[in-house]
């Protein structure tokens, strides 16, 4: 009764299932051949240091930007390095693989820029070396797991006069930029912001492992600063390599607090702990409170990162003002604007394209498919226009941000970096401003460890 087919599926040949249909892909009418549109002069040569999950996300985003040519990939783990090399070759690139970034920087001399997606504790080492080698750098956040590491990156960028973009990619997201520039600063639709609440709630995840036979010898791991393979694969959870969930997840969102308000906090107090996981060092759940000294008055903010439950509404930043509120997220379904009843009508902002009437996000009706448009069932009963329901306070009216992110999530931030190299466009997140966020994040962990409120001096945020 058993039915067998000849070959098991692998990454390399899974298309063979298609070929077995008998269709001839090359002759299919769906296939077209395009022309190369990027002039050689506009091409930027880049290398990737760190070919893990985040490196792959950045690679896939960069591949959608015209004129980017990967010349090298670097990773101490051959498994990841080979994967990146194969992926890039499918796109017509021919990157040289390296285990050691120093060898790569010495040998690949025609690089314009380096993209760094390694663990936090080596960001400073890799960034400073690349800057000193004369390359522009895009480095993943958090800048570093130490203030001194982050400061060294800013100093190196200053000294070399090379660009340093840090991967707080929301700053280049067109929806976030619209929210800050048009809704908050231009339209003042939120009125005076008094509070912020932010969160990232993530379900329990298992530790990462690795395929049999793919482990890195311990001596080599030690050479590159790792204790063992478990810590190498799960570095985000260990204090010597990273800053934990507040750094991995919270840094994106608390960076938005600083960025949208245009100032840094004066104090923070936080609570957290290793409450759930048995194999981690970093706090799995942490909650922080901040005070921000804006020109209009104090803004009190909370932020919580939970890694043991997906309940409670996902991830967003919620800016609350006396005339309106902005709930914003990289995920549009968690994004919405609310107008307080006391605020002026927003009709003129709708007319100007600053806000839109509700069409999507939480509470929106499901999209109607084309074949569902005909024969829609009509509800019976009298019209309700003349009746008034007396119940609880009406919900705030909800509005949308009429901006769509029509690219891979990290693509606009990479584009900004490449435009800065080519055209001199200002960076959306240079090392100086990312340094302030790094100081903020690291202080939260410090507050948890100290069990008390900590204050910031304005000079703390200066590198």
């Amino acid at each position: 009764m058993s039915e067998s087919f000849s070959s098991p599926l692998t990454r390399r040949d899974f298309l063979s299932t298609s070929a077995k249909l008998g269709a001839f892909i090359a002759a299919a009418p769906y296939i077209a051949r395009g022309a190369e549109v990027v002039a050689k002069a506009d091409q930027l040569n880049v290398a990737l240091i760190g070919c893990g999950e985040q490196g792959r996300i950045l690679t896939n985003a960069a591949l959608k930007i015209p004129g980017i040519r990967f010349k090298a990939v670097v990773d101490i783990w051959g498994y990841n390095r080979t994967y990146a090399e194969r992926l890039l070759k499918k796109f017509g690139h021919d990157p040289k693989p390296y285990e050691d970034y120093r060898q790569m920087l010495a040998e690949v001399t025609d690089l314009d820029a380096v993209i760094i997606a390694t663990p936090d504790f080596v960001h400073a080492e890799h960034t400073v070396a690349a800057l000193k080698a004369g390359k522009h750098v895009y480095c993943e956040k958090l800048m570093s797991n130490t203030v001194e590491g982050a400061r060294s990156m800013v100093h190196a960028a200053r000294a070399t006069k090379k660009l340093l973009q840090v991967g707080h990619q929301r700053r280049s997201n067109p929806r976030y930029r619209h929210a800050k520039d048009r809704i908050h600063l231009e339209g003042r639709l939120l009125g005076r912001i008094t509070n912020i609440a932010g969160q990232w709630h993530r379900a329990v995840t298992d530790d990462y492992g690795f395929p049999n036979g793919q482990g890195i010898p311990e001596a080599k791991l030690n050479q590159y600063g790792f204790a063992n393979m478990h810590e190498f694969r799960n570095w985000r959870w260990f204090k010597r390599y990273a800053g934990g969930p507040m750094s991995d997840l919270g840094a994106h969102q608390i960076d938005v607090y600083n960025w949208l308000l245009g100032c840094n906090p004066t104090m923070c107090i936080a609570s957290g702990g290793v409450d759930y996981y048995k194999t981690h060092e970093w706090y799995d759940n942490a909650i922080a409170i901040f005070e921000f000294p804006t020109k209009e008055g104090t803004v009190r903010a909370t932020y919580e990162v939970l890694t043991t439950t997906s309940a409670g509404g996902g991830y967003h930043e919620y800016f609350m003002g006396d005339e309106g509120a902005l709930k914003i997220s990289e995920n549009p379904k968690y994004t919405k604007l609310y107008r307080e009843a006391r605020a002026p009508e927003w009709d003129k902002w709708v007319a100007q394209g600053i806000v839109a009437s509700p069409t999507s996000g939480e509470g929106a009706p499901p999209a109607v498919k084309p074949w569902e448009k005909v024969g829609v069932k009509k509800l019976g009963g009298p019209a309700k226009a003349s009746t008034v329901d007396v119940r609880e306070t009406a919900a705030l009216s909800a509005w949308d941000i009429p901006v769509t992110l029509d690219k891979a999530i990290h693509q606009p931030h990479l584009e900004n970096f490449f435009d800065a190299i080519r055209l001199g466009t200002p960076l959306n997140c240079d090392g100086e401003s990312a340094f302030a966020t790094t100081v903020t994040i690291l202080k939260i962990n410090e507050s948890i460890a100290a069990g008390k409120k900590l204050t910031f001096a304005p000079t703390d945020f200066l590198a």
Binding site: S2, F5, P8, F14, S18, R33, G34, T205
Partner: protein, 281 residues
Amino acid sequence: MKFPEFPEFHHEAMATTFALVIADQSPDYARQAATACFRELDRLESELSRYVESSDIARANRLAFGETIGIGEDALHCLLLAADASLATDRAFDAAYASERAPAQPADTPLFTLDPAAHTLTSHTAQLHLDLGAIGKGYALDRLAAVLADWAITHACLHGGGSSVLALDAPAGQTGWPIGLGEGQHQRVLSLTRCALSGSGLAVQGEHLVDPRAQTSAQRRDRTWALAPGAGLSDALSTAFFIFNDAEVAAFCTAHPHVGAALAHADGKLVAHGALAALLA
């Protein structure tokens, strides 16, 4: 799936629940491999779901006539598979069936084209509407099998939302994975290895299957199943078989002997063609 002797792992993605059963491995190793699979699954959803704003498919659906975008490796290969399935089934399966075709546009011209070398997609309609709902879950199962292969795991059975099963090698000492097909007294249990079985019907999502050729709801009321070497293909073909009439299903299986079909009739009885005929004999 219920295989109590082996560890089973679940993950929600693509608006359904995926399950992996991994045999002949330590539970810890199996769990680590499943974690790697589910990370890949989340990544695939972010690239293939039309509901994810920044996915390649959502971006394609916002293209104006003649516009071109760069797409990733998975969107390219899933769309190539979809294109092949569409051609082979004479558009009984068509991932772009809900697109708005201009009145003057011939029905046999594609609404989008792909440049595999450049990894680009070009729209040839004012409103492209790609929907990988009838192929994406199966494609994802094929990719998860590839991840398991990286982990040297070949004895496994993968399940995507109840509609597609990808059986890899059988557990040690067994001839195959027991997979149910049909309902009630007519249900049969097949023993499958290295192949995929997908089903289509109206029981779960109601009248969700549309005949791309007629642009109307499908005429068939009872379930269809497709057996194929890979889950992306079986997923697409089970939909096509639901759209085909019985004679078209039989003809397709004759032309493609490595593919199987099973059709439920109103009385619950099963009629099988091609590779499934021998299994259900």
